[in-house]
Symmetry: C2
Subunit: 191 residues, 2 copies
């Protein structure tokens, strides 16, 4: 997994955002550049999503992870090109951001997604401890385009035994062993 | 991503399951071996989860993807060792199974997990089009061990604006562009 250089990233966001015109008493143009707004990042992600489709990389989705006005992870949907059903844009962006930070948490970071995250991606956002999520299209827009995240949201609210994918629980007693091992393992890294 | 050789995998499942004693009129012992039961796979996963903890690889979770009595993907929780918050056991097993199959769908396959999948992993199971899920420990067991998947299930049922991670929707009109590009792209690979 590789990220584009941060310099290019910042430049791009700043270019899309524009800068205030300088005045005689203003500080240098660089220091008065408005920080990129959520719209700026969403527009950049939308452009990435369009490109992702037209270059045959995958579905019409893209996402960015931003920390302190810097894009630290970018992702597009590459499910079909990587043969990975988990390679949604948000998951890809989160994995790349974590890779870049050498950390499994993204506290202080914001996720920008071209579409409302599906339950898998929203779950990933919680596990990554992201601070905030901005998104553009809704799950209804996604459904209209043939991406039916909404039914997965509905499935998750059902009891496991009533779901479309049948779920069966068994061996509950034996299943405590890994948790006991975890409690006994003094060098465990909590996450 | 590498899978252990399938031979070892099958051997292990068969060894744990045992075989019916042969009788004079029965076919050869090999052909009368009972197919591994769900308990067999769950026990193998539980053992993997214990090992995952005691070898310092990560959290107390493991999962298997099985097709036609053959394990095609194994995964343990490697969040902290890979710096990847999405590297839960189920996601890892699904990604490896897809990698082994060169396919982004696992129709006909069953997921065996040592614990009830969290929303991220359950979402991954739906996107992978798995047929069925068996799990051992419950989300309440996980919560008692310090893994609070349950609160993420609760979050997902809330309207986006009421969640613990604030979610904001904007630029809905511009966000249709990737979907339009998708509809216009004749070589798209549906997923």
């Amino acid at each position: 997994m590789q990220n584009p250089p941060n310099d290019g990233t910042k430049q791009s966001a700043s270019r899309m955002n524009g800068a205030f015109p300088s005045t005689p008493h203003a500080p240098s143009p660089e220091s008065v550049s408005a920080p990129p707004s959520p719209d700026t990042y969403l527009r950049e992600a939308i452009e990435m999503a369009v490109q992702n489709v037209t270059t045959g990389q995958g579905g019409p989705f893209a996402a960015l992870v931003v920390e302190d006005d810097e894009i630290i992870g970018r992702g597009t949907n590459v499910v079909t090109t990587l043969n990975d059903p988990t390679a949604h844009a948000e998951v890809t962006a989160i994995r790349r951001a974590c890779d870049a930070q050498n950390d499994f948490e993204l506290t202080g970071c914001t996720l920008y997604a071209t579409c409302e995250p599906c339950p898998m991606c929203l779950g990933a956002a919680y596990w990554a401890r992201l601070d905030r999520v901005y998104y553009a299209a809704t799950r209804e827009d996604a459904a209209a385009a043939g991406f039916d995240d909404d039914h997965i949201y509905e499935e998750l609210t059902k009891p496991p035994e009533d779901r479309r994918i049948p779920m069966t629980q068994q061996l509950g007693e034996e299943a405590q062993r890994p948790f006991e091992a975890w409690r006994d393992y003094e060098e465990r890294v909590e996450y």
